[in-house]
């Protein structure tokens, strides 16, 4: 039928070009017979290996976070290990939401649908509640490896107390400072133990010519146009601000109603006014921020994942071979206490649409595939690649091979789809060489000990789903304006008031009711 309607169209076109030969013709340049071979999706032609059980066919849709769709190298191994026939459909992360929405609305989602991030998951919740996806909670116990998944993180991904998804795990608190240790050493400063020292460090990096070129051309902190994943949220946690929501008089209240939030804004205002951070940070993209750091213009990169140190170091030493980086995250607040904000432990989830997964038996087969994915052998294959080709094992840890391009091309695309985390799926931890990175891994574990979770992660608010994003915009704008000195505390309070009256009050109510 697919073919038929198409050929009708084509015939119509052809008939048309025939009619053109009126008036002796010779002039018509219609070449549409030359069509670019309209191929219908024939699927792969991998030879079917004779095995007791026919391989399960699974179609998987996921966002593409690399430059290009990976070749089948990993997929072929994966199919062998899991007795499946897989079709991976990668779509550019940038327009993934459009693809997801269109496919969903037209009933064309494949059996396994990865979302893009937590935000898309929040968007999907309504449809999940409506029963468009399989509830997998009851089946989990049948799969030994899947039942290893961390209950507290599973809890964060539940909708109305039921589990519908498998999560892709991420360390809870990787954020901190990456800084120029060579500059600090030269100026005789040690890693900042508290916020005052952090401020002093930024000031010294700006004023005391840490790169020794005789010019005052460096700054302390480089930040970007992000309150959440930039420096702001991390520093606000150090000030003692709750993570997005906090308890106040026994009631949940948003972070920006806490005095510590205002202290954080004051801190940034002081940094920017003094010239100790990039003046245009509210308009600086991540790439531009990273560029300022790797081109030796800034000394402190705050708020990103400390594991980024490898990438930053790689680019920085191209420009300054003697540069040394280190990581740091234990910065005490004014009360001398440590605190780190934590993400809900996942960065994405996979769902199983009922429109594609027809029955329980099929669902179980698919879950079986994910169960196998959570064995060290398969998880390593997807995360690190093929041993000997893409990585080697040193001291029980994975050391990526020298051919970075090969890894980038063949493995990276699959990395973000591995269910669980190293603790649960048993894949290798990375073998690190850079001292700053080794330090970062220790700090990531330390961070969790003083971690602060978002108390609303597993709670529901209809109003938040409805207009949380645009309401948050009000606060984000007000925060920047305060830091840039365009509004004062009274002006900020007015914006918070506006947040309340436009739906924020309802969100507070709904979260407290759901608690």
């Amino acid at each position: 039928m697919k073919k038929k309607s198409f050929s009708i169209l084509l015939t119509a076109l052809l008939t048309f070009s025939v009619m053109l030969s009126a008036c002796s013709g010779g002039n018509n340049s219609s070449k549409e017979k030359n069509d670019p071979a309209p191929t219908t999706n024939g699927g792969d032609t991998t030879a079917v290996v004779v095995e007791p059980e026919a391989p399960t066919e699974i179609k998987i849709m996921l966002p593409l976070n690399t430059t290009d769709t990976p070749p089948d190298t990993i997929k072929i191994e994966l199919e062998k290990l899991t007795n499946t026939k897989l079709t991976y459909q990668f779509f550019p992360a940038d327009s993934y939401e459009e693809k997801l929405n269109t496919s969903f609305a037209t009933g064309s989602l494949p059996q396994v649908t990865y979302l893009k991030n937590q935000a898309t998951f929040v968007q999907m919740k309504e449809s999940i509640k409506d029963g468009q996806f399989w509830e997998i909670g009851p089946y989990l116990s049948e799969f030994p490896n899947l039942s290893k998944l961390k209950p507290e993180i599973l809890n964060n991904t539940k909708v109305d107390g039921k589990l519908y998804s498998l999560y892709i795990g991420r360390p809870l608190a990787r954020q901190g400072i990456i800084y120029r240790k060579d500059w600090a050493d030269k100026l005789g400063i040690s890693a900042p133990a508290n916020l005052d020292e952090l401020y002093e460090m930024a000031k010294a990096f700006t004023e005391q010519d840490p790169d020794g070129n005789g010019q005052k051309d460096t700054i302390g902190v480089v930040d970007r146009n992000e309150l959440y994943y930039g420096a702001f949220k991390t520093i606000s946690a150090w000030f003692g601000t709750p993570n997005t929501w906090g308890e106040k008089d026994g009631q949940l209240a948003p972070e920006f109603t806490f005095s510590q939030y205002v202290d954080t804004m004051d801190f940034f205002k002081k940094l920017r006014d003094g010239g100790y951070m990039n003046q245009d940070f509210a308009a600086t993209s991540k790439t531009d921020a990273v560029n300022m750091f790797t081109s030796g213009k800034a000394g402190l990169y705050i708020g990103g994942s400390m594991q980024d140190i490898d990438t930053l170091n790689k680019d920085l030493i191209k420009n300054y071979p003697d540069a040394v980086l280190d990581t740091h995250s234990m910065v005490a607040g004014p009360d001398g206490k440590f605190a780190q904000w934590m993400i809900p432990g996942y960065n994405n989830v996979a769902l199983f649409p009922k429109s594609a997964v027809k029955d329980e038996a099929e669902l179980k087969k698919i879950l079986g595939f994910f169960d196998k994915m959570m064995t060290p052998e398969v998880a390593n294959l997807m995360f690190w690649g093929i041993e000997g080709t893409h990585y080697t094992v040193v001291d029980g840890k994975a050391k990526p091979g020298d051919d970075k391009e090969l890894i980038e091309r063949e493995v990276k695309g699959y990395k973000d789809s591995v269910i669980g985390e190293a603790e649960t799926n048993g894949m290798y931890q990375p073998y690190n060489i850079l001292p700053g990175r080794i330090h970062a891994e220790e700090l990531v574990l330390e961070n969790v000990k003083v971690g602060v979770a978002d108390p609303t992660a597993a709670l529901d608010s209809a109003t938040y789903v409805e207009k949380g994003v645009e309401l948050q915009q009000i606060i984000t704008d007000a925060t920047y304006k305060y830091i840039y000195g365009q509004i004062d505390k009274a002006g900020f309070d007015k914006e918070v008031e506006s947040w309340m009256s436009r739906g924020g009050a309802q969100i507070i109510e709904e979260y407290n009711a759901a608690k």
Binding site: K2, S5, F6, L9, L13, F16, S17, L20, A22, C23, S24, G25, N27, N28, S30, D35, P36, P38, T39, T40, N41, L64, N65, T66, T67, D68, P71, Q89, F90, F91, P92, A93, D94, S95, E98, N101, T102, A105, T106, S108, N117, R224, Y229, S285, K286, T287, D288, T294, S295, G304, S305, Q307, T311, D315, K318, N319, N347, K412, K415, D416
Partner: protein, 291 residues
């Protein structure tokens, strides 16, 4: 153009030339920066932000993007879709525009209005997707062509050009026994080469630059045109995705790779224009026939 050898004319020409040279320089500098950036190292690009002539030359970015055949394949798809798409579009557009250009056609105003209407009102992505799906075009290259086969804008412009052709020519052709098809192909089109060249260029560029159709309608990434790759790399490398997370597992591609892909994906379509330009001179024919 006719030469004017008076002093005023020369001054005018000199002034005009200088001004245009400045404008051309301003417009082309950032592109030179992109080309230069593709031939240098990421370190130099970070240190010296607005590189125009690289101090350190490097072909690494090109080695990287040409190390697999993906880009060649994508380029092939883009060229094929652009060529065939432009032909299909030109055929459909010219037929429609010619019909609507004839002032003696009853109902033309209604059709014209309905065409303009589609420029203002859109059904949206989902219903359009369903149409494409029902026609069985998912995963077919035709899905990159048919849904945008006629641009209302281009059709109206072409119609405008056709309307300027003196009707006397058509009358005399009719007397010679040509049908309307004959008139269009033997008389109107040859007389409208500047317009045909322009509109073909518009179509070619639209087909070349389109990536959304491919993402929506092609599930098989092996069929993607080059713009999808280009966009993917540019967005990743620019770090402008506002839904950014603090993910460390995916460091962005090098800036030099971004620049190299821009160069590779842009040069083919850029080089179309100079070939079109020679048709702009042929419009002269129209005048001579009129006289």
């Amino acid at each position: 153009m006719v030469e004017d050898r008076s002093i005023g004319g020369r001054l005018f020409a000199a002034f005009n030339f200088t001004l245009l040279a400045i404008i051309a320089l301003i417009t082309v500098l950032p592109f030179i920066h992109v080309v230069a950036g593709s031939f240098t190292t990421s370190a130099e690009l970070a240190a010296n932000k607005f590189v125009l002539i690289p101090k350190v030359w490097s072909l690494d970015a090109y080695k990287f993007i040409f190390s697999t055949n993906t880009i060649f394949k994508a380029m092939g798809v883009s060229i094929g879709v652009t060529l065939i798409g432009t032909m299909v579009s030109m055929l459909l557009t010219a037929l429609m525009a010619y019909g609507l250009a004839r002032r003696d056609l009853d109902g033309r105003n209604v059709v014209n209005f309905l065409v303009v209407f589609t420029m203002l009102f859109h059904g949206g992505m989902i219903p359009t997707f369903l149409v494409v799906k029902e026609l069985g075009l998912i995963d077919s290259y035709w899905a990159l062509i048919l849904p945008s086969a006629i641009s209302a804008f281009n059709m109206i412009i072409l119609k405008n050009f056709f309307q300027n052709i003196p009707e006397g020519l058509e009358e005399s052709a009719k007397i010679d026994g040509c049908t309307d098809f004959g008139i269009l192909f033997k008389i109107v089109l040859p007389l409208s080469m500047p317009a045909i060249a322009t509109i073909s260029l518009f179509y070619a560029v639209t087909y070349w630059n389109n990536y959304m159709n491919a993402i929506l309608y092609l599930d098989d990434s092996a069929k993607w045109p080059i713009q999808v790759l280009l966009r993917q790399i540019v967005v990743l490398a620019s770090g402008m995705d506002h839904s950014a997370t603090l993910d460390a597992t995916n460091p962005p591609p090098d800036q030099t790779i971004k620049m190299a892909v821009i160069v590779v994906a842009t040069i083919p379509i850029l080089s179309v224009y100079p070939f079109m330009q020679k048709h702009f001179a042929k419009g002269a024919m129209l005048g001579s026939m009129k006289g």
